[in-house]
């Protein structure tokens, strides 16, 4: 972060900085405005775009200073992450144990860990820095499907320490691996446990693998996951914003928040700092409230919304996840014959929430993974719209990983949007092919092509921290549809680079109902830009993910990744 400006100078500085017109030149400015898709200059005043065009077109706005620092860079509209969780910033305090390289908020690339021994070694390294022998040691993002024996036992983690509790949450967030001490502290280290989520070893004791949040929550507390695992805190939110800048993101979502008064206070205060670089949309999720309470809370949250901490939208969670076998699937269900998944909401509750939200003009994003859950959301919206017609509701399906062509056709009729989990293909596509839904349906998961062909407004997402926050990587996933093993999965559902860039800019803006403010570079919009080292429309599609990000401009304020 930049050094804060002393208060007495702040107003005056801001006044000069923002009232002045700055014209940025760049090697290329990709506007995402089809009427002038590429320009050489963009003029900015008061945090907003005066115009995009040639220098001679822009000088008509009057006195300006020409900023040529991006002469060799590419500008795009600031990228928009339409489904992430700000808690990722907090998780970086834990030890990164992922299989793939990943950049932390400070720009350090943590190398992916190729074997379980590498995981142990990295945890041991951190262990040496801890003085108190009882302090918890916590890791995240481990993915045992990549390791030959696929199981992580408590004994493996005991090699790191037997005196302190150790817990590592898996990449998918469905499972946690812990050591013996963590089991002891949470009273799990005993014979006679009978639970499908707690596998037992030959000795009759838990192996250390804990499946499902309802199982690992209580152990997680002992293993260093303090408080609410999905809730950001002050420094976590700042670290999350650093990740955004490093990935060209100027608008991001915090898609499943409880939004207690305390957390709203933190969110408003932190994002209001003059050097906070991102606009955050924090959605209130439905769990734990009646439909009436939810609507009332979100209505009052909407009134507290600020420019950089946007409130007043609802997240409804319909079902679970496909790899956790908790998603609700239509016939023929899971490929491996697992029983159908779970509802996280009753149809009557969903209908009540949809109806009241339409009446109160509140927008809803609904998490569905299975196609049966999507059917429910479509049926419910269709019914609710009969009662409260709306011509601009922008209800969005989040994930919608198994939406089929008939469902898209219906979604088009219902004016719905979709935000697909494109990254999922790369990380778990092989698992879906082999185990969860089988080849045919795995090939049409996150069917971006069919969505666009049916005219559905489209966004694509990372679900950070589940996969890394990086819209250019997400675009790469949607364009190439490669799985980790290197197979192209679902050739037909590929989209073009241009379409993917739309999905991470104006498409995502549309799903958040701010396409009038951001998502393209044109007169009147917010001066939100991603500053790139290379041109995503010029590099081979396979290199989209490798494009370097210099930083961002958000609301006219320049944020270099190197200073953040």
């Amino acid at each position: 972060m930049r050094t804060p400006v002393p208060v007495e100078f702040q107003a005056q500085d801001t006044y000069h900085e923002l009232e002045m017109t700055t014209i940025y030149s760049a090697k290329k400015i990709i506007t995402m405005n089809p009427a002038r898709p590429v320009v050489s200059h963009v003029a900015v005043r008061d945090g907003r775009i005066l115009g995009a065009g040639t220098l001679s077109e822009l000088v008509g706005f009057g006195e300006y200073s020409l900023d040529e620092r991006f002469e060799d860079k590419i500008l795009m509209p600031g990228l928009i992450e339409g489904h992430s969780h700000a808690v990722e910033g907090k998780w970086w305090r834990f030890v990164y144990c992922g299989f793939h390289d990943r950049m932390d908020p400070h720009g350090k690339i943590w190398s992916g860990l190729q074997t379980m021994d590498d995981v142990i070694a990295r945890m041991q390294e951190k262990e040496k820095t801890l003085d108190d022998p009882t302090q918890a040691l916590t890791g995240w993002a481990i993915d045992p499907i990549y390791y030959s024996d696929k199981k992580i036992t408590r004994q493996m983690l005991d090699c790191i320490s037997s005196t302190r509790p150790i817990g590592i949450i898996h990449a998918s967030a469905h499972t946690m691996s812990v050591n013996t001490k963590a089991l002891e502290l949470s009273d799990f280290m005993r014979a006679g446990i009978e639970h499908v989520g707690v596998p037992l070893g030959d000795d009759g004791m838990p192996t250390g693998e804990l499946k499902g949040p309802d199982v690992y929550f209580s152990v997680a507390q002992e293993a260093g996951f303090d408080g609410n695992m999905l809730e950001f805190d002050e420094s976590g939110l700042i670290d999350f914003s650093r990740l955004c800048v490093r990935n060209g993101v100027t608008t991001a979502t915090d898609l499943a928040a409880q939004l207690s008064d305390d957390i709203v206070d933190v969110g408003i205060r932190v994002t209001n700092e003059t050097d906070f670089p991102v606009r955050i949309f924090s959605f209130r999720f439905h769990i734990g409230l009646t439909p009436q309470e939810l609507i009332e809370q979100v209505k009052s949250l909407k009134l507290r919304s600020t420019d950089r901490f946007r409130l007043g939208k609802i997240k409804v969670i319909a079902d679970g996840s496909i790899q956790g076998f908790t998603a609700r699937l239509n016939w023929p269900g899971y490929y491996n014959g697992a029983p159908n998944g779970l509802w996280y909401i009753a149809p009557e509750q969903m209908l009540a929430i949809y109806e009241m939200a339409l009446e109160a003009e509140l927008q809803i994003h609904t998490h569905t993974n299975g196609d049966e859950a999507t059917d429910l959301a479509l049926d419910t919206l269709e019914a609710a719209l009969k009662k409260h017609p709306s011509n601009n509701h922008r209800f969005t399906i989040q994930h919608g990983q198994l939406i089929n062509a008939a469902q898209y056709r219906r979604m088009a009729k219902l004016d719905m949007c979709v935000n697909h989990f494109a990254n999922h293909h790369f990380y778990w596509g092989d698992e879906h092919y082999r185990l969860t839904v089988g080849p045919e349906r795995a090939e049409r998961m996150n069917a971006c092509r069919t969505a666009l062909d049916n005219g559905i407004p489209l966004a694509i997402h990372s679900d950070a921290p589940i996969t890394p926050l990086s819209p250019l990587f997400t675009a790469w996933c949607a364009v190439n549809r490669l799985t980790h093993s290197g197979r192209t999965q679902g050739e037909y559902e590929k989209i073009t680079v241009e379409e993917a860039l739309y999905a991470i800019t104006i498409g995502a803006a549309y799903t958040l109902n701010i396409d009038d403010e951001v998502g393209s570079i044109e007169a009147g919009k917010q001066a939100d830009f991603a500053v790139l080292h290379e041109d995503p429309t010029a590099v081979p599609a396979m290199q989209l993910k490798d494009i370097g990000v210099w930083g961002t401009i958000q609301g006219g304020r320049v944020f270099a990744a190197s200073d953040i």
Binding site: D187, F188, R190, V196, V215, T290, L342, A346, E348, Q349
Partner: protein, 319 residues
């Protein structure tokens, strides 16, 4: 020995009467301090006249009872309860309408200090058959009913005779695994779910419960002296056998090693734990049929009548 708090899970689909049952239990707690965990503070989760104060996620109720909402994290809520001044005598978890109550019970088994006493699933007699074939929630309702240790067929007053007969047949055909009680406005004998006193005064205790006579007449309560040693798990299992005709049994019995054990039976679920010190042996059983006699019960469970028992019976001890 660590104090173990009994936990009962109340499941069933939306509108089946779970909240009404919770209020009914709170009104008939008879001095027991109940803690009720609800998925959310729904519309009127607790009758207003029972509420004394609310502090965030915890509502204080009259008689030392409390109600907490647990949202999506039950274990945290149980921790909140542990942090209260005194532990509750009994915890009731009201599951959300789409939750699988058996899964909640399984998760609970992972936490030390709690004993799952039973999974009670309420059934809306007016709608369950239609709902069980509904596209989205049919299989959820099926799984909920299968999770039940005890089924409560609620809203029976809204059925006419032939509908009631048909529903009973339907339940018999598909969900014969669990004992069944019928109810109106969720009013079941509170002693089925609350921990009633056992031993000599047990009948008095259960009769004191504040519910109307027409409801109490649906149940018969049988108290058994248990002076002899028994194989406790075998007895408990026998008491939970549907053929026994009981919906509830609780009491203290002596094992062959002379230790006193607590037997808890709620529907088809039984548990045996070490009894607290100083209790007197005896069993209290509740049946929904008035035809169940002490004799039949003893015979089904192979409980001999000891000489002492017989002598006391002759003296009219139980009267």
């Amino acid at each position: 020995m660590q104090a173990v708090t009994p936990v009962t899970i109340i499941g069933g689909y939306l509108g089946c009467g779970k909240t009404t049952l919770v209020n009914h239990l709170l009104r008939n707690a008879n001095g027991a301090r109940l803690a009720v965990l609800v998925n959310d503070f729904g519309e009127l989760p607790i009758d207003a006249d029972l509420i004394e104060a609310q502090d965030g996620d915890v509502i204080s109720l009259s008689g030392g009872c409390v109600c907490c909402s647990f949202g999506d994290d039950l274990s945290r809520s149980l921790k909140t309860l542990r942090a209260l001044d005194s532990l509750p005598d009994h915890i009731f978890i009201e599951a959300s309408g789409v939750a699988l109550p058996g899964a909640i019970g399984n998760s609970l088994s992972l936490l030390r200090g709690y004993q799952l006493e039973g999974v009670v699933v309420l059934v809306d007699a007016t709608s369950v058959q239609a709902a069980s074939v509904q596209k989205y929630i049919g299989d959820t309702i099926d799984r909920q009913l299968n999770d039940a240790d005890l089924l409560v067929l609620n809203k029976m007053d809204l059925l006419n005779d032939s509908q009631a007969i048909e529903l009973r047949q339907w339940i018999c055909e598909y969900y014969a695994h669990a004992p069944l009680v019928e109810a109106v406005y969720s009013k079941i004998d509170p002693a089925i779910l609350l921990n009633i006193k056992t031993g000599r005064n047990s009948r008095d205790a259960s009769n004191q419960a504040d519910y109307t006579h027409d409801i109490s007449s649906m149940y018969s309560s049988i108290s058994l002296r248990m002076d002899q040693q028994v194989d406790v798990p075998i007895l408990a299992e026998r008491l939970s056998d549907k053929g026994c005709g009981l919906v509830r049994a609780k009491g203290f019995v002596m094992d062959y090693d002379n230790s006193i054990k607590t037997i808890q039976v709620v529907g088809r679920r039984w548990s045996v734990t070490n009894a607290p010190a100083g209790v007197e042996t005896g069993l209290v059983c509740i049946a929904t049929s008035s035809e169940l006699t002490e004799e039949k019960l003893r015979s089904f469970c192979n409980i001999e009548v000891t000489k002492q028992d017989a002598a006391k019976l002759q003296c009219g001890y139980f009267d």
